[in-house]
């Protein structure tokens, strides 16, 4: 008897939805290759982190409640972002602490929410991907994924199976890139100093491509690399793992 399909609700994240839909399609492909039935609930917008981290609990709660409504019917919720997955996993239960009904629903959803790459490896047991990406790459560990969700080995393990890919470790890969949501526009001078330190580390590796698992960090690092005129290309790790790298890299124009 065939097993019931695993229904995954893809939380595509507001940044991927707006800036980089190809990451969403890469996530769909990776999840389907891992035997999941992927659905994208139309009612999703954002996880509420901008409000939450700005101290606006009322709006954060309203948005979180909507996310819980929208996604709690799925077996799993998967997001191509450690930051947004961390918000659902670690912070939704705190947001509803003291509200027994909502807290229980938040906890239940949190327990079934994963960042994309760690979901593939830790839940679906994916060990290799069928993709090719010749060249030297380096990888930045987004803070929430690394420190809230413990994601470090997973992307490296899957990248090791990509044909032709040569991963050079990024010095200080665990140090924040300076994005930090609204931080980067509230304190541009500090953010710039931080992302400048990051791009200097990228340059040290000699990598042609910089990968990470969070679009916020990627937009920040790509924006800085492009402003500085470097030709390092910047992509979400899902694009490379899915073998979907035909479109220009983040912040790069049409070829030719």
């Amino acid at each position: 008897m065939p097993e019931a399909p695993i229904r995954v609700g893809l939380f595509v994240t507001c940044l991927v939805d707006l800036f980089r839909p190809s990451v969403g399609f890469a996530a769909v492909k990776l999840l389907e290759d891992a035997g999941c039935q992927v659905e994208v609930p139309a009612a999703q917008t954002c996880c509420g982190q901008p409000a939450y981290n700005s101290g606006d609990r009322a709006d954060a709660k309203a948005i979180a409640a909507a996310v819980i409504d929208t996604f709690e019917a799925y077996d799993y919720v998967v997001a191509p972002s450690g930051s947004c997955a961390g918000m659902l996993r670690e912070h939704y239960p705190l947001l509803f602490a003291g509200d027994a009904g909502m807290e229980a629903r938040a906890r239940a959803l949190a327990g079934r929410t994963y960042e994309l790459v760690s979901f593939l490896t830790d839940v679906r047991g994916v060990r290799t991907v069928d993709a090719s990406f010749p060249g030297r790459v380096t990888y930045h560990d987004g803070c929430s994924g690394l420190r809230e969700l413990g994601i470090r080995a997973q992307p490296r393990a899957l990248l090791a199976s990509v044909a032709g890919l040569d991963l050079t470790e990024l010095p200080d890969s665990d140090v924040c890139c300076g994005f930090g949501g609204t931080f980067c526009v509230k304190y541009p001078d500090i953010s710039n100093a931080m992302v400048g330190a990051k791009t200097a580390c990228v340059a040290e590796t000699g990598a042609e491509t910089l990968l990470a698992g969070d679009l916020g960090c990627l937009l920040n690092m790509a924006g800085k690399l492009k402003r500085d005129g470097t030709d390092v290309r910047v992509r979400h790790v899902a694009e490379v793992l899915a073998g979907m790298t035909a479109q220009p890299a983040i912040g790069d124009g049409e070829p030719g």
Partner: protein, 482 residues
């Protein structure tokens, strides 16, 4: 020798944003902060890795403090009783003014003209040096870093490394300008030479001092002892040579027993400097007893509250677990970018951002909890497992509730939340934005400038969206599939 300390440091008079602009443009500070990154982080990691039970000790240390804070009244009373039993006195001080008055009183009664000081952040918190100066008493900082910042009329830029914002060549220049008694052609470019010279200057000061003031890393309820850790031995001379020893400490420094103190000591130096133990761990208990060969004739403890007891019942209680090791500061990329003075507060870095609003009020310190990316590196290394990002977020909530959060940010978040709560409208607006930004990005695929986005585009290009939102493409795909 050092001339009077200015009553307020210049960075406290400017806005945080202005401090930041000055700091990030300072190449000398860049170099100095590079040493913080290179020095502390690797050493702490190695020290933690060498001790298999390090993580267990962190839990134990946290639990000791949690227990103590839950019974703080009991342990403080026990501590006071023990201090009195050993011939000392405890002065309970609600705020800085009371603490300063108490210290001045003790100094005057002792007829003090010179006061030596061991390193103390509480001393900074109550601004004791300026007040001693004003009363005609000369405070002499004896910790090398503190000695240097006092000489420069600055404040410490770090809680355990006060002069970490300076480079060796700057300190050499200061010594040459201030220590005129030494030959001008002496060699002074190496750290041991600087240390030797400071020692020579300080030696007579130690002997001259009438009163010695030290901080405390721990107050031990069981014995009435205070414990300090130093690497220079200056604390020992400060507290044993003068006639009067004053310990200044905030009330959360108390732990129940010596055993508890030693448990926390095992994580303190490892987290701070990567040492297994500080060079000196000094326990002082009361004044000199009849058979003691040395020690002070009088022993006073100035116990400062300054708002801390108000934190016991509430969401900021975990701040009081802090043992001032500085690990959060050493690992903070924001601190690395701006240094300690830019914060404009006594305590810099993540712990400063969490503590300062409690001491000065959120209105005065609203920028500090905002200036964090919540990267979580501070919490990851805090030996006491203080959830610093969570505490900073709680301050942002306070600021938001009390409308301290800037209007622009409030309006922006409010507008964005309005759309985020209406998926159909949100989809329509983001669809327009995606197409518009895509068009503006053109063939380059990025924008160098964008109205209202100067915070982003001043230093970075904005990568242009691909053109259509994921949700709209997905919806279109679904409708052709079915």
């Amino acid at each position: 020798m050092a001339s009077p300390v200015k009553p307020a440091m210049s960075t406290a008079d400017r806005s945080f944003s202005e401090n930041v602009r000055v700091a990030v443009a300072d190449p000398q500070l860049r170099r100095a902060m590079h040493h913080v990154k290179e020095g502390f982080i690797g050493k702490r990691a190695k020290a933690a890795a060498r001790l298999p039970e390090f993580e267990i000790l962190r839990d134990a240390a946290r639990d000791i403090k949690d227990h103590t804070l839950a019974h703080l009244d009991l342990y403080l009373e026990r501590y006071e009783a023990q201090v009195i039993e050993r011939g000392g006195q405890v002065h309970w001080c609600a705020g800085p003014a009371e603490a300063r008055a108490t210290i001045l009183d003790i100094c005057r009664q002792a007829g003090a003209r010179t006061v030596t000081k061991g390193k103390s952040m509480i001393g900074e918190e109550i601004d004791i040096n300026a007040h001693l100066e004003a009363a005609g008493i000369t405070p002499v900082e004896t910790d090398l870093g503190e000695y240097i910042v006092q000489m420069r009329h600055e404040r410490p830029s770090h809680i355990i490394a006060p002069a970490v914002h300076l480079t060796k060549d700057l300190i050499e220049a200061d010594f040459r300008a201030q220590h005129r008694q030494f030959p001008a052609d002496r060699s002074l470019s190496e750290v041991p030479e600087l240390v030797d010279e400071a020692r020579q200057v300080l030696r007579q000061r130690f002997l001259d001092a009438d009163v010695g003031i030290t901080g405390a890393n721990f107050l031990v309820a069981e014995t009435g002892s205070s414990i300090i850790v130093t690497n220079e031995g200056n604390g020992d001379l400060t507290q044993t040579l003068p006639r009067v020893h004053i310990v200044i400490a905030s009330l959360e420094k108390v732990v129940p027993t010596l055993e508890d103190a030693t448990t926390i000591l095992r994580v303190l130096a490892r987290s701070a400097t990567g040492q297994e133990f500080s060079t000196y761990t000094t326990v002082s208990t009361g004044p000199k007893r009849p058979d003691d060969v040395d020690g002070p004739e009088a022993y006073h403890v100035v116990l400062l509250d300054n708002g801390r007891s108000g934190l016991l019942d509430g969401q900021f209680r975990e701040i009081l677990r802090c043992i001032r090791c500085g690990a959060c500061i050493n690992h903070c990329p924001v601190y690395h970018a701006i240094g300690g003075h830019a914060y404009g507060s006594v305590y810099p870095g993540p712990i400063g951002a969490a503590l300062t609003p409690a001491l000065d009020g959120i209105e005065a310190a609203a920028d500090l909890p905002e200036a964090s990316t919540f990267c979580g590196r501070c919490e990851a290394v805090c030996p006491m497992r203080i959830p610093l990002p969570k505490l900073l977020r709680h301050w942002r909530e306070r600021a938001y509730e009390q409308r301290v959060t800037p209007g622009g940010l409030r309006a922006g978040i409010g507008l964005w939340a309005f759309f985020a709560r209406r998926p159909a409208l949100y989809g329509f607006v983001t669809g327009l934005a995606a197409r518009l930004l895509r068009a503006l990005g053109g063939r380059r695929g990025r924008l160098a400038r964008l109205p209202l986005a100067g915070g982003w585009t001043r230093f970075r290009d904005l990568p242009a969206p691909e053109g259509r939102t994921f949700r709209s493409q997905w919806a279109a795909k679904k409708s052709t599939r079915s």
